[in-house]
């Protein structure tokens, strides 16, 4: 019984992690049709921002939940101005340029901070469940991800900002005719996506080692989640991370963590073979 509960919690944790690391990418891809291959490095920058801030005596929670997203959002604005803006509508060129950016960011951070593994330990101690113990931080992550998804939903669905964003996504020319500058909307969207990535990076930092190349470990999972999810930002992220996270954890639990990841990939490939436009291309069409 306790074992079943702990496995269930592990599955939910892995789903939450997947949703968390994919959300920023999903916002940028879903809204702007831009595939940001530097997403993993945005996660990495968020993690480093949190570490540097705590190193300078900032409160851990402030640095994870505030400093990390804000600093990565600033990076996002600069990147959008310098690179992404020039390549709108050229999906493959954007992919290549952001890949270049990803390599350059890894190189830059290695140069400045060195290629060493840093990090901070997870706060919140651990909680006893029967004969097992579960880290309290993982439970916090599950709750936080749920709240974050709810906030994103409310912002897109019920605020004026969300209305403008969705309108621009559907028809930029019409939005421009109604007096909204699509380029500003794109810039803000990219910054929001970057901020979400930075936040996710800082939040996973206590669970993962922080190295300049840490992004590469997450980018594949984030991509496969977003692509499997399809065009709808929230419904796609939630359904795909639910499915793939469960497959991953069950695979790791029954065999080894590596086989869990292989199972995740195999599931995604089979899914894309059956549903080339992702889950929300067939089901839950038109949802957010």
């Amino acid at each position: 019984m306790d074992l079943a509960l702990i496995v269930l919690l592990q599955i939910v944790t892995s789903i939450a992690m997947l949703a968390l690391i994919s959300l920023g990418l999903a916002v940028i891809f879903g809204m702007m049709r831009v595939i940001n291959l530097a997403h993993g490095e945005f996660l990495m920058l968020g993690a480093y921002a949190a570490i540097l801030a705590t190193g300078h005596g900032v409160n851990l929670w402030v640095s994870m939940l505030l400093v990390a997203p804000v600093s990565v959002a600033i990076v996002g604005v600069v990147v959008e101005r310098l690179i992404i803006r020039r390549l709108y509508g050229r999906m493959i060129d954007t992919m290549l340029a952001t890949w270049g950016l990803s390599l350059a960011l890894i190189g830059l951070v290695t140069m400045i901070l060195g290629n060493t593994n840093t990090g901070f330990s997870a706060p919140l101690g651990s909680i006893a469940i029967g004969g097992f113990r579960m880290s309290g931080y993982e439970l916090f992550l599950i709750l936080f991800t749920a709240v974050l998804l709810a906030v994103v939903f409310v912002v897109f669905r019920f605020t004026r900002l969300g209305l403008i964003a969705r309108g621009t996504m559907q028809n930029p020319d019409m939005a421009a005719a109604l007096g909204i500058a699509p380029s500003t909307v794109y810039a803000v969207t990219f910054a929001v996506g970057a901020a979400l990535s930075g936040l996710a990076g800082a939040l996973i930092a206590p669970l993962a080692g922080v190295v300049p190349t840490m992004g590469t470990a997450y980018i594949a999972k984030a991509f496969i989640t977003v692509i499997t999810g399809g065009a709808a930002i929230l419904a796609g992220t939630i359904s795909a991370s639910g499915l793939l996270g469960a497959v991953n954890t069950l695979g790791s639990f029954l065999a080894t963590p590596v086989l869990g990841e292989v199972a995740l990939l195999a599931a995604a490939i089979v899914l894309l073979r059956l549903l080339p436009r992702g889950i929300t291309g067939r089901f839950l069409k038109g949802s957010l």
Binding site: I35, I83, R86, L87, M91, I92, D93, M95, L96, A97, W99, G100, L101, S102, L103, A104, L105, I106, G107, L108, T110, M111, T216, A220, F223, I224, I227, T256, V258, E261, V262, L265, A268, I269, L272, R273, L274, P276
Partner: protein
């Protein structure tokens, strides 16, 4: 013989001359270390050529060409250790990646997965292979008598021997000559494929998939075949690479996959010679950047890719030939 085939023999003859000159010159002038390095460059050039064919002419942006490269290297190493003789290992090093490309390509093209999704999936497959190979350190992961070695790779990758005679190891200069011949053969095969009816359909599919389909061609099959040929060439590249260095999980790494794309885009998408030149130039640049202590080579490569995409979207070779043509006209 069709007209396209006639204009193909010229470039092939030129390439043969260039290959002869290189084989004549470099082994005599270079020191051993530089020669082995040159062999690595040639194997990379084969890899660049494979993507130039698949992406530049097939229109398939494969982010995972390194997967076939790594598979070729590992297959060669494992087979050579098991057989004790490399005669059978070389064809296997081409066939196994080709078979893998066939399988992967079936899922991709028959699932009608479009460009960008395809890029992401190939990238992910490569990363998963990378992780898998990295985790094979324990003794359970042994194929025949060859331990996969996990993070350390297979340091005792045996060098090529004369076909059928396992005691006669090839010298580094002989391996270099073989690699150059391999590069030339891949170039010639690619040129001949492109001049054939099949190759022209492949290019037509790249230009307009819907129109090719409406003309009655099975687009999926053409893509699958050219993708498989690319996989086989990348496997050959991996085999040569394994001969000069040794196989390790880095062959599957993201930085290799990234570099291949960078070579092609810097050299010129839609040409065969451009990516080979781009590859060799950038390899030299990377080697030079590696000797700098202040600047990280990743930073240099990444910056070059960003700048190339923004300023030279056509690539080096087409830009230069375009300039020359404009100069001729005026």
């Amino acid at each position: 013989m069709n007209a396209a085939l006639k204009t193909t023999w010229g470039p092939i003859a030129l390439a043969a001359l260039a290959a002869l000159a290189v084989c004549w010159f470099l082994p005599a002038t270079l020191e051993l270390f530089a020669l082995i390095n040159a062999t690595v460059f040639v194997s990379m050039a084969i890899l660049a050529l494979s993507l130039a064919l698949v992406w530049g002419y097939g229109g398939i942006l494969c982010f995972g060409q390194a997967a076939f490269f790594g598979l070729g290297g590992y297959t060669y190493a494992v087979a050579a250790i098991n057989f004790g003789d490399t005669t059978g290992a070389v064809p296997l090093a081409i066939l196994v990646p080709a078979g893998f490309a066939l399988l992967l390509g079936y899922f991709l093209f028959y699932g009608r997965i479009s460009d960008v999704y395809l890029g992401v999936i190939t990238l992910t497959v490569t990363l998963i292979l990378f992780k898998f190979i990295n985790s094979t350190a324990s003794d359970i992961w042994t194929i025949g008598t060859a331990p996969l070695g996990g993070f350390n790779g297979i340091p005792m990758t045996p060098p090529l021997n004369f076909p059928g005679d396992m005691t006669a190891m090839l010298m580094p200069d002989q391996i270099f000559v073989l690699a150059v011949i391999g590069l030339f053969l891949c170039y010639a095969i690619a040129k001949l494929i492109l001049a054939s009816h099949f190759g022209r359909v492949v290019v037509a599919v790249k230009e307009n998939e819907l129109r090719a389909e409406l003309l009655g061609y099975d687009v999926r099959l053409y893509k699958l075949i050219i993708f498989t040929v690319g996989g086989a060439m990348a496997g050959l590249a991996g085999m040569f690479f394994a001969n000069c260095v040794f196989v390790s999980p880095t062959m599957f790494s993201l930085s290799y996959s990234g570099q291949i794309i960078i070579w092609v885009i810097v050299g010129g998408l839609g040409t065969l010679v451009g990516p080979v030149i781009g590859c060799i130039l950038l390899q030299m640049l990377t080697n030079w950047a590696g000797t700098l202590e202040v600047i990280d080579p990743n930073l240099v490569l990444g910056a070059i890719l960003v700048i190339a995409v923004l300023l030279l979207p056509k690539g080096l070779l087409p830009t230069i030939t375009g300039l020359i043509r404009r100069g001729d006209r005026s």
